[in-house]
């Protein structure tokens, strides 16, 4: 290949790569640098080494936010995964009814977080919400989902599960389509019960998809932001403040960019670990299925 040809190849990728370098690669390193500086709205900042990280480690607001993030992730991911799997199993057929129901269960996923929180605010709010009205009609005291510190994280979780059910369901449906028909026929000839078939054939075949769903959702929920910011503004008294909301408030409320960057780097590491765990787990899964 001669030099002129080389050049032309580079021209095709250059527009994307230049923007990519400017808007993604540069900010990635700039963020790392910011986290080592004390930076506010004015001026360029001062190098402080690991001080921001030390401060993070001792900041009770950050640890509460992190804990909230973990809690809400733990509330969401298992329920979401199981529900999506059950839905996929129930709706994995070609009938009209199943197609309609698939459409219904996926429809919420195309809404923006703003609309979702708007809808759920007036489902959950005790004074004007659908649940409140239902509770009142039943003669009970409406639950203060958005202002009771014990109910606020479950409320965010319910909202999120309602919103996020569609994608995992589709992934499971795609996974189910990959399972060869004759495996089920063989199982039927072997007189396997439904439960045995599910445990011995469906689940192992879906292993990769299950790992993918769990990891994608874990990574997504560790970044949970809009629901908390819009529904409760992190309240009451920080009971629903998530890590990304903390980062948002620190950066764009108090303009402590260096400190917020340190929080962002910590979160990045966390999510990177989850992503790597997924590659590791699916990689092993592939080896296992290759060994069959």
């Amino acid at each position: 290949m001669n030099g002129a040809r080389d050049w032309r190849g580079l021209l095709f990728v250059a527009p994307f790569m230049l923007l990519y370098a400017l808007i993604l690669v540069f900010p990635l390193f700039r963020g790392l640098w910011l986290s080592l500086n004390r930076v506010d709205l004015f001026g360029d900042g001062r190098f402080v080494g690991a001080a921001n990280y030390v401060r993070l480690a001792n900041d009770p607001i950050f640890s509460t936010a992190l804990l909230n993030t973990f809690k809400v992730t733990l509330m969401i991911v298992p329920v979401l995964t199981v529900l999506a799997l059950l839905l996929a199993l129930a709706l994995n057929n070609a009938g009209r009814g199943a197609a309609l129901l698939r459409g219904i269960f996926f429809s919420s996923a195309v809404l923006s977080v703003t609309i979702v929180t708007l809808i759920w605010r007036f489902v959950l709010a005790p004074d004007a919400g659908l649940l409140g009205e239902a509770w009142k009609a039943a003669g009970w005291q409406p639950l203060a989902f958005l202002s009771d510190p014990h109910l606020v994280l479950p409320a965010l979780a319910i909202t999120t599960i309602w919103w996020s059910l569609g994608l995992p369901m589709l992934l499971f449906l795609a996974g189910l389509q990959q399972i060869p028909h004759d495996m089920y026929e063989a199982a039927a000839l072997d007189n396997a019960s439904r439960w045995t078939t599910f445990r011995r054939i469906t689940v192992p075949a879906l292993r990769r998809t299950i790992v993918l769903v769990v990891m994608l959702q874990t990574a997504a929920q560790l970044q949970l932001f809009g629901q908390s910011q819009l529904l409760t503004a992190g309240g009451p008294s920080g009971a629903s403040r998530t890590a990304v909301l903390f980062l948002f408030e620190t950066a764009f409320g108090r303009w402590e960019l260096g400190y917020a960057s340190a929080a962002a780097e910590m979160l990045f590491l966390l999510i990177l670990a989850v992503t790597l765990a997924q590659y590791w787990a699916t990689g092993r899964g592939r080896e296992a299925s290759g060994a069959r």
Partner: protein, 274 residues
């Protein structure tokens, strides 16, 4: 097939689930159809008539919601067009051409798949401030153009096109660009439409970036505008109007969803390839 058959209990659970999915949306619709005054302190009134379209009429009398709609449309369409152009060019390079650093650059793009937006959003905000791009359409569009997924997706698709076609075109005297423009690009049409729908949805629904980049209300997109409206709703014109805005803002996306269901499903299922 046998495993597709549900017991009556299974059916009941499924229908209950569907009801839970639909109920909040129906509730929102009902609220949007009520006179605002009727809902004050008593939103249960939404469960019965009289219903009215006055809230929707009010949207057309209020320029800000329409302005946000326009902004969302410009940003989402601009992002979609930009992504298709950049990803197609780059993917052709990665899939078909030899040039220095090709593998390295592609790996760098793939690594970008693992970078969550919150990890770069603060420096991005700073960068766009330096460039005076906040509160502008380019400022809202540019960060959406560099999605690594778009290049990964399109490169994978292009690699699936037989190389014999490129070679036949080269023997037919086509230049590299002609091969790209006349042969490869038309063959990626299914992938283009999938990527387009996927990008459009993502851009239309994006909240993070416009929230921090668009600070003037006339540059808000619908997501940010409605976020502001819901936080201030106590002071504004009322619950019915707010819900009408929500329905109005969701209409375009539902139209896209229904029209392009196939592409959306394909794109979503495609994430499993990662």
């Amino acid at each position: 097939m046998d495993r597709g058959r549900l017991t009556p209990v299974g059916w009941a659970a499924l229908l209950l689930g569907a009801l839970i999915m639909v109920a909040p949306i129906v509730w929102t619709l009902l609220l949007s159809l009520k006179h605002n005054g009727e809902l004050v302190g008593h939103s249960g009134a939404a469960l019965h008539g009289p219903y009215t379209l006055e809230n929707y009429a009010a949207i057309f009398g209020n320029s800000s919601t329409l302005r946000w709609l326009l902004n969302s449309a410009i940003v989402a369409l601009g992002t979609t067009a930009g992504v298709l152009v950049l990803a197609s060019l780059a993917s052709y390079g990665f899939a078909r051409l030899e040039f220095p650093l090709r593998r390295t650059l592609f790996v760098i793009v793939l690594l970008g798949l693992a970078v969550p937006s919150q990890a770069v959003i603060l420096p991005q905000h700073q960068l766009f401030a330096w460039l005076h791009l906040h509160n502008s359409y380019p400022g809202l569009i540019l960060p959406g153009l560099i999605a690594p997924f778009s290049v990964f997706f399109m490169t994978t698709y292009m690699r699936g096109i037989p190389r014999e076609l490129d070679e036949a075109a080269m023997l037919d005297g086509a230049s590299r660009f002609t091969v790209f423009w006349k042969v490869i690009l038309p063959l990626t049409a299914p992938a283009q439409s999938t990527l387009a729908v996927f990008t459009f949805l993502g851009s239309w629904n994006d909240y993070w970036w416009p929230l921090i980049s668009a600070t003037h209300s006339d540059m808000y997109t619908l997501t940010v505008g409605l976020a502001a409206a819901q936080m201030n709703y106590a002071q504004t014109s009322g619950l019915g109007y707010l819900m009408a805005q929500a329905v109005f803002a969701s209409l375009p996306i539902f139209v896209v969803y229904i029209a392009f269901q196939k592409q959306i499903v394909r794109a979503m299922a495609g994430t499993a390839v990662r």
